[in-house]
Structure formats: structure tokens, C-alpha cells
């Protein structure tokens, strides 16, 4: 997952979590404050009523003639009520509670403040109630405003965070793309620093450049070593070969000497192949081949099949070109590409028994081109295949006295040409699949 996405998700989750906690706790908090506020208001009302009684006298509420008839009043919407009665129970009351009252067949829940007080030598009880529906309605309104504000805040901060993260991570993305992802060989690396004012990105950029300098130095040293080793190894072989060839062409040489010379030539040939294969692998590893050619894979396959048709016929092997879609493999190397496919093909020819079949399927999709070479040979054992893939051991087929450089070269070349190789092998045969990327314009 990309760093910017992670940061955004983190921001969103952190804010979302805070919001969730707030939303969960908000009703209780709101209720607490609303009730507290209501209680205060009820107390204030009680004080107001007491003030009116002190000012205007009790007569305004309770008649002195019938003091047992108390005073009761509801406002028009039944949101509030006041009850004033003579209190003869002697017990002092000063409490707030919730009570349901049935008014015109409708139950209304009130927050009630009940308080006894002395007036004119008598004790009265005053109850002031306020409908909780009103409180709940206020709670709902405040709650909705809060939720709305928070959602808008979350959405706004999400977009701001996205834009800000994109902006500050821009140099980092450039470093990753231009200095790491798009670099297949050290030669492609550009030392031009990416513009940024973030200190950490500058450090990263410099660290990558330093690392690449060291890699390029090692590559150059290896290149020089390969060149020298190549010279030192090839020159004596060249001398040997020309001497043997010179002897070989002499007519006075007898059959026995000829036979010995042929053995020598075979040994020289093996040395040449080994040295060439080792140097080729080193050069591919060292990216010493150009990758600027366009290879017509379909033509290459046709040529290969034509080249080996007679040999296959002789071995009574059926060569089937099942599909050959036209495909131009760009930014490639023709001789390496040929070597890669040819090695797979020759491997199939080598191991397919008499009467067997080799199928070649070359197909294109929008994103890639696949070349599959299937044979009906005995297959390659998993152990040997792993060795070749790992590139640690040079496979040696002792039974047939053949070096295993072919598959090794095939793998190395494929890696260099950005071609994916897949080998599926069983006792019924082997299928080697090359997947070449298609460059999108």
C-alpha cells in the first residue's frame, strides 16, 4: 500500500474514532447538561414564584377562605406547570425528580422541582415542572448540529489531508520513480537531485545517489575484470585452436593422429563454449548489452522452426506452430532474444523422444506477449530447475555429458530483457513460457 494512502487512512481512522467516541458520548453529555440547566431554571422559577408571593401575598394563589384548595397552572402547550399547596405533612421537601403525568389522555414526562417553604406561619409546597419533551427536542437539535459540523469537518480535513499529503510526498514519489523503480541498470541512473525542501527526502536522495555511485563503480570494476579475464582466457584458446586447425589440415597426418586431434578439438570446443557462456552470463549480469533494438518475435519463431525443421523430422518429432501473433518486442536485443528462445527450443528438441511433439504458441494480449514452448519430453526435475533458477549451481547433465549453461543463460537473459520465465515440468513434458511486456504509448 502506498505511503500517502496509509497516511490518509490513518488520519481518517483517527478522526473517525474520535468522532465515534464523541457521537457515542454526546447524548449522555448533552442530557447531563440539559438536565442540569433545566434544574437551574426550575430553581430560578421557584425563586421568582416565592418573590411574587412575598410581593403580592399568598392570596393571589391560594384563597384564605379555602386554603385546602391549592393553586395549579399549566401553560398552553403543557410544557410547564406550577402547583402550590398547603403542606400539612410537616416533612421538609427540596427535591428534583422525574414524573409522568396524564393530561388529556396523554402521558407527559416532567422534570419536577418540589420544594416546601414557610409563609405566614404555614408550610406550603411548591412544585414546578418542565416537560422533558422540550429538553429532548433541544438535545436532538444540538446533537444534529454537532454531528453535521463534525461530518463536514471530517470531509474537509480528508480533502485537505489528501491534498497536503500528495503535495509533501511529491518529491518522495519522484525519488522512488525516477531513482529506484525506473532504474533497471546503473547506467540509467541520473544524479540530478530532486527538488525538495524536506530534509529527510534530501537525505534519502543523496543516500540513493551515493549507493548508486558505489554500484556503478563495482559494475565498472567488474566490466574491466570481465574484459581482462576474457582476454586472458580467450587468447590461449585461440592459439590452441589455430595450432590444431593447422595440424588438422595437413594431409600427411595419419588416422590415429587425426583422431587425437579431433579429441583435442572437441576439448577446445568445450573450453570455448564454457568460457563464452561464463562471459556471456557475466556480461548480461553486468548489463553490457544494448537494449535498443526492436525484435520481431513472430519472424524469429518462424526462422527458428525453419532452421530446426529438418532436425526434428530426422528425430521424427512433430513441430507445431499453433499460434504466432505478430509482435514487435521493443527496447530489446535481437541476439539475446534469439538466444533465449532458441535455448528453450533446443532444450525441447534435445529431450523430446522420437515420435514426440513440440508445440510453439505465441500470443498477444493488451499488456503482454507470451511465447510458450511445450514438449513431450521426460521433464526437468524440480531440484535441478531450482538450482538453475537460483543461478548458484551450474547444472551438469552427467548422463548426457552436457553442460547446463543453456537454461542458465536463458534465465539470465530473460531477467535482463524484463521477460518473465515460467517453467512447468512433469513426467509428461515441459512447458516454458516467456512473458514479454508490451510498452504502452
Amino acid at each position: 500500500m502506498r505511503l500517502s494512502a496509509k497516511l490518509l487512512i490513518y488520519n481518517l481512522l483517527a478522526k473517525g474514532l474520535i468522532l465515534l467516541i464523541f457521537i457515542s458520548a454526546a447524548p449522555f453529555v448533552l442530557k447531563y447538561f440539559a438536565v442540569k440547566n433545566t434544574d437551574n431554571q426550575l430553581r430560578e422559577k421557584r425563586d421568582e414564584v416565592i418573590s411574587i408571593i412575598v410581593e403580592d401575598g399568598m392570596e393571589k394563589f391560594i384563597s384564605s377562605e379555602n386554603p385546602e384548595i391549592g393553586f395549579g397552572s399549566y401553560n398552553i402547550l403543557k410544557e410547564e406547570y406550577i402547583l402550590l399547596e398547603l403542606w400539612e405533612q410537616g416533612l421538609k421537601v427540596d427535591t428534583i425528580f422525574v414524573e409522568d403525568r396524564i393530561l388529556e389522555r396523554e402521558t407527559v414526562t416532567y422534570r419536577v422541582y418540589s420544594n416546601t417553604f414557610e409563609y405566614g406561619g404555614d408550610t406550603y409546597i411548591l412544585e414546578i415542572g418542565r416537560s422533558l419533551e422540550t429538553i429532548k427536542a433541544i438535545e436532538r437539535i444540538i446533537y444534529n448540529i454537532l454531528i453535521g459540523t463534525l461530518v463536514i469537518f471530517l470531509a474537509l480535513t480528508f480533502f485537505l489531508d489528501t491534498a497536503f499529503t500528495e503535495k509533501i510526498l511529491q518529491p518522495f514519489k519522484k525519488i522512488i520513480n525516477q531513482k529506484i523503480s525506473q532504474i533497471n541498470e546503473p547506467q540509467q541512473f541520473s544524479y540530478q537531485l530532486i527538488k525538495t525542501n524536506t530534509e529527510e527526502f534530501k537525505l534519502l536522495d543523496n543516500a540513493i545517489s551515493d549507493m548508486m555511485r558505489r554500484i556503478q563503480k563495482a559494475f565498472n570494476q567488474e566490466r574491466i575484470f570481465i574484459s581482462h579475464a576474457s582476454h586472458e582466457l580467450k587468447t590461449p584458446i585461440s592459439v590452441l585452436q589455430s595450432k590444431v586447425e593447422a595440424l588438422f589440415s595437413r594431409e600427411e597426418i595419419g588416422d590415429l593422429e587425426m583422431e587425437k586431434l579431433l579429441d583435442m578439438q572437441m576439448t577446445i570446443q568445450q573450453m570455448k563454449k564454457t568460457v563464452n557462456a561464463l562471459l556471456l552470463i557475466s556480461k548480461v549480469n553486468n548489463a553490457q548489452y544494448i537494449k535498443t533494438e526492436t525484435v520481431q518475435i513472430n519472424l524469429l519463431i518462424e526462422e527458428l522452426l525453419e532452421e530446426w525443421e529438418d532436425y526434428a523430422d530426422d528425430k521424427e518429432i512433430v513441430l507445431a506452430l499453433e499460434k504466432n501473433d505478430p509482435f514487435s518486442f521493443e527496447s530489446s536485443n535481437e541476439s539475446l532474444c534469439r538466444m533465449m528462445i532458441q535455448n528453450a527450443f533446443i532444450n525441447a528438441l534435445k529431450y523430446t523422444p522420437k515420435g514426440g511433439k513440440i508445440s510453439v504458441i505465441s500470443t498477444s494480449t493488451n499488456s503482454h506477449h507470451q511465447v510458450i514452448i511445450k514438449d513431450t519430453g521426460p521433464g526437468i526435475s524440480d531440484d535441478l530447475l531450482e538450482q538453475v533458477k537460483d543461478g548458484i549451481v551450474f547444472l551438469k547433465d552427467a548422463e548426457k555429458d552436457k553442460s547446463g549453461f543453456g537454461l542458465q543463460i536463458m534465465f539470465k537473459v530473460a531477467l535482463y530483457l524484463d521477460v518473465m520465465v515460467d517453467i512447468k515440468s512433469s513426467t509428461d513434458g515441459t512447458a516454458i513460457t516467456f512473458t514479454c511486456p508490451i510498452q504502452q504509448d
Binding site: 585461440s238 590452441l240 525453419e306 529438418d310 548426457k400
Partner: protein, 224 residues
């Protein structure tokens, strides 16, 4: 034809010189940059076979002198160095061909003939083998003006054997000429037998091919 061989490796130079003289070339041999430079300034050459790794300089640096003094000569770079840039630079600076060591002397001869023919210096653009006529320009073979369909590899094989008439060519030499050194099969030379069989079969329909001989245990040769 006069050839300048620039090669510092003594035993290799000796063998190449001997081989070229055996093929009727007049061969001068320079073992150092300075010696080669002097020869280039004095004598006219048809061919310059140039080794790159010389003890007193890089063979590539001789290219300008060659271009200046030997406008008509053809250059083949012979080198054991493996850097691609050398090959590209050598060809860009005017070399006609590039042969990596170790190479077969017969391959060298084939390359020299190909360059000569390309530049029009070779006397003939055709070869006669038995009753067959090898057209070197069209890369075809005819019998009494009738084309015989050979594959590219079969033609290349027959042509290589034709320019080395009378010489026994073993399967390794023939295989190397056809596929180079990187073909992954130590038994690739067996494929040569299949090609020879097909050549005999295809040509045999028109005329006897007893001139194409199998030298038992060794290889093949075309009788002189």
C-alpha cells in the same frame, strides 16, 4: 592479396600468418602498435587484421591512420576483449567485420572472402561444385539453370565447405560456422549430419553428389 596482421601474441600470430600464406596471401606481421603504424604508413594492404589489445596501445587508435593511409583496405578486428562498446566503436570507426577470439582460421578466411566479394575485389561471384553452380550473390544453388531449394543453413554450410574445397572440415568447425559459440548443445555437431543428409538428398535428385565426402570419424569435405 596483401594482408597486414597486427597481433602481439606470438604463437597465434605465427599460426595465422602461416595459414594465410598457405591460402596464397602475402602476409606482413606487426606485433606492436608502433610496428603496425609504420607498416600502415609504408605499404598498401588489401586486408588489415587488427588485434585491439596491443602492448603499446589500443588497436582502435590505429583506425584513423588506416583510414588515412589505406583507403582501399578492408579491416577485420580480431579481439579477445568482450566489451560490446569495442565492437560498436570498431565498426563505427570503419572496420568491415569483427571476429571474437577464439576463432577458427577457416572462419577468418570465409569472412575475408565475404568482404572481398562485397567490395568487388573477388574474381568470381560463383563457385562450381560438381555439376552444380553456387551463386554467391543470390545465395542460391542451381543445376543447369534450375534453382534447387536449400534452407538458409544448408546453403551456408555448402558455401563454407565450397570455399574450403579439399579440406576436411569436422563437425565442430561446421557447427561453429552455422551457429556461433553460444548454442547450448555439446552435441550440436550431430545436427550437421542431418543438414548434410538433406543437402545430399536435395542435390542427389539432379546429379550425383559423390564430391561431398564423409571422412569417417572426422567430418566432411568437398573434393577438389
Amino acid at each position: 592479396m596483401r594482408v597486414l596482421l597486427v597481433e602481439d601474441e606470438n604463437s597465434l600470430g605465427k599460426e595465422i600468418k602461416k595459414f594465410l600464406e598457405g591460402e596464397s596471401f602475402l602476409c606482413d606481421w606487426a606485433t606492436s602498435f608502433a610496428e603496425a603504424s609504420e607498416d600502415i604508413a609504408i605499404n598498401p594492404y588489401d586486408f588489415i587484421l587488427l588485434d585491439l589489445g596491443l602492448p603499446d596501445g589500443d588497436g582502435l587508435d590505429l583506425m584513423e591512420e588506416i583510414q588515412e593511409n589505406q583507403k582501399e583496405s578492408s579491416i577485420i578486428i580480431l579481439t579477445a576483449r568482450s566489451e560490446i562498446n569495442d565492437k560498436v566503436e570498431g565498426l563505427e570507426r570503419g572496420a568491415d567485420d569483427y571476429l571474437s577470439k577464439p576463432f577458427s582460421l577457416l572462419e577468418l578466411k570465409a569472412r575475408m572472402q565475404a568482404i572481398s566479394r562485397r567490395k568487388g575485389g573477388w574474381n568470381s561471384n560463383s563457385l562450381e561444385i560438381g555439376n552444380f553452380h553456387l551463386d554467391l550473390n543470390a545465395k542460391t544453388i542451381q543445376f543447369e539453370n534450375q534453382d534447387i531449394p536449400l534452407t538458409a543453413k544448408e546453403y551456408k554450410l555448402l558455401h563454407f565447405m565450397s570455399i574450403n574445397k579439399g579440406r576436411v572440415l569436422n563437425r565442430f568447425q561446421l557447427a561453429e560456422h552455422l551457429w556461433g559459440d553460444h548454442l547450448d548443445d555439446d552435441h550440436q555437431s550431430n545436427y550437421i549430419d542431418v543438414h548434410i543428409k538433406n543437402i545430399r538428398k536435395k542435390l542427389g535428385e539432379f546429379a550425383p553428389t559423390d564430391w561431398l565426402q564423409t571422412v569417417r570419424g572426422l567430418g566432411y569435405k568437398i573434393q577438389k
